[in-house]
């Protein structure tokens, strides 16, 4: 029997409108006092004189969604959060576009700072997501998280 986990992935970049709409949705939750949002943006790194133009994301999706689920559970156990959302891009995300959106909310600010950093670090370390850095000349190299 296979458990199905919430799908964290979105095809292509995460738009600023989507992020704005996500913030607006929380205005009915009047127990919230503090939101903290992390956005990962694709950087035009220069490597050996060639600039990155885009990252093409792939993932071992079933395992990644399970990991995202586990990270959520652990984060809710560790910190006093009202809610939490994670979205990660798949496919091509150009430089300047957003590929990761993590959103945590709590009655109080102390919790959101610790929780957000915890979640982002866990994603970088544990989620089987792979990034192909595409250069302007269409050559590529594989990204590795530091």
């Amino acid at each position: 029997m296979k458990t199905t986990y919430k799908n964290v992935f979105k095809q292509g970049p995460i738009s600023s409108e989507f992020i704005g709409a996500s913030i607006a949705k929380h205005q009915s939750k009047t127990g919230i006092g503090a939101h903290n949002i992390f956005l990962g943006q694709v950087r035009a790194d220069e490597i050996d004189g060639k600039a990155v133009a885009a990252i093409e994301y792939t993932a071992y999706e079933e395992m990644a969604n399970k990991k995202f689920h586990d990270i959520r559970e652990t984060t809710f156990e560790k910190f006093n959060l009202t809610c939490m959302h994670i979205y990660h891009s798949l496919g091509t995300v150009k430089t300047g576009e957003i590929c990761l959106f993590v959103f945590v909310s709590s009655p109080r600010r102390k919790d959101v700072f610790k929780a957000l950093e915890y979640v982002v670090e866990a994603i970088k370390k544990e989620a089987p997501v792979f990034g192909k850095e595409i250069f302007e000349d269409q050559s590529h190299q594989w990204k590795v998280n530091s």
Partner: protein, 77 residues
């Protein structure tokens, strides 16, 4: 037993496929690695981890017949 092996990212480039079904005897992960190094010598120079049934496993873990994934370094975010 028949086991599905999935390859991701740069490892799919090295093996030239994103998945294949292999006929393997019951063996620990270390045995699987030896087998893969013979089949895809390019893997020997690569840094990777192995997941069985979507959980990372160590060299000593026994194969169970469930899905295996060969995972290059993670680069999420």
């Amino acid at each position: 037993m028949h086991i599905e092996i999935k390859y991701f990212g740069m490892l799919a480039e090295v093996t030239g496929c994103s998945s294949e079904i292999l006929e393997l005897s019951v063996t620990p992960v270390s045995g699987l690695k030896e087998f893969l190094f013979k089949k895809h010598p390019g893997l020997q120079q690569k840094d990777f981890r192995i997941a069985q049934n979507q959980e990372l496993v160590s060299e000593e873990t026994m194969l169970t017949g469930q899905e295996i994934a060969i995972l290059p370094p993670f680069a999420g975010g």
